[in-house]
């Protein structure tokens, strides 16, 4: 049994505690089954976070990972930026755009 740290809303707070297996479980909890396309976005978020210092916004994912914004709304319906961050074990993005 693994124990991980989360904030009051349930977002993971420790970058190092995240694993790919955990991501699949987190995604399942919000009704998302991860496909290769989901993974492309999640892996980008994971790689970008340590260097950028904050969670990538939709625009950043779209321009740097090359996933069209329209597609991000399909992959993570409703609130894509927050859902991606949740599955990637990162804080909610703080950027406006």
């Amino acid at each position: 049994m693994t124990t991980v740290h989360v904030d009051a809303e349930g977002f993971m707070t420790e970058y190092g505690e995240w694993t790919e297996e955990l991501a699949a479980e987190l995604a399942a909890r919000i009704g998302i089954e991860l496909t290769d396309e989901h993974w492309k976005a999640i892996r980008f978020l994971r790689e970008d976070y340590p260097t950028h210092g904050e969670t990538a916004t939709l625009r950043r994912v779209s321009t740097l990972a090359g996933i069209p914004i329209k597609q991000l709304f399909v992959l993570f319906p409703g609130k894509p930026a927050k859902k991606m961050a949740y599955v990637a074990g990162l804080p909610k993005p703080r950027g406006c755009v």
Binding site: M1, T3, H5, V6, I30, S62, I69, F73, K79, Y86
Partner: protein, 173 residues
């Protein structure tokens, strides 16, 4: 806080409010054609869409410049009449000042990774936003659909817009 991740029943799962935002609508009326006044509507529309809120933008009067193809790339910022620059107003009237202030503002916007107006509109449309042009403004300025940004869904009357945005929260900018 710690949570156990391996039990079948999730303990703390964020409430993404998918049901709460269902049916929530935002209507934004963009009536200004200055570069600085174009952004509030675009940023709020983008934020609302990212939160799953159905969003409609209505471009009217000077705001028509934001969707007019010949002008949308060239919105300007002037210091004149804007005390928030904290510079003497007389400076703003000097030749070249508006061009310089515009250049500076565009650079600042670009430096924080925010797109220019046409690209921002593209992002809003890709996120599911709706763009509408004001009929009266089109008539006044003798413009038709061929003069407007491609993704504008139509030139409609104020009454049409009110009808389309029934129950929406409304912002006038």
């Amino acid at each position: 806080m710690t949570t156990d991740m391996t039990t079948a029943i999730p303990q703390v799962v964020p409430d993404f409010g998918d049901e709460a935002t269902e049916g929530r609508k935002l209507a934004i009326i963009c009536s200004k054609g200055n570069l600085d006044m174009a952004y509030p509507g675009l940023i709020l529309a983008n934020a609302a869409l990212g939160e799953g809120v159905e969003t409609h933008l209505f471009f009217t009067f000077w705001g028509f410049d934001m969707i007019t193809r010949s002008r949308m790339h060239d919105l300007k910022f002037t210091m004149l009449g804007n005390t928030a620059t904290h510079l003497p107003q007389g400076l703003g009237g000097l030749p070249g000042m508006t061009a310089m202030a515009t250049h500076q503002m565009k650079k600042q916007i670009h430096d924080i990774g925010v797109p220019d107006v046409p690209e921002f509109l593209e992002q809003i449309v890709a996120s599911g936003g709706h763009l509408w042009a004001c009929r009266m403004s089109a008539d006044m300025m003798h413009l038709d659909e061929s003069d407007l940004y491609d993704d504008v869904e139509g030139i409609i009357s104020a009454a049409d817009f009110i009808e389309k945005t029934e129950g929406a929260q409304l912002l006038f900018i």
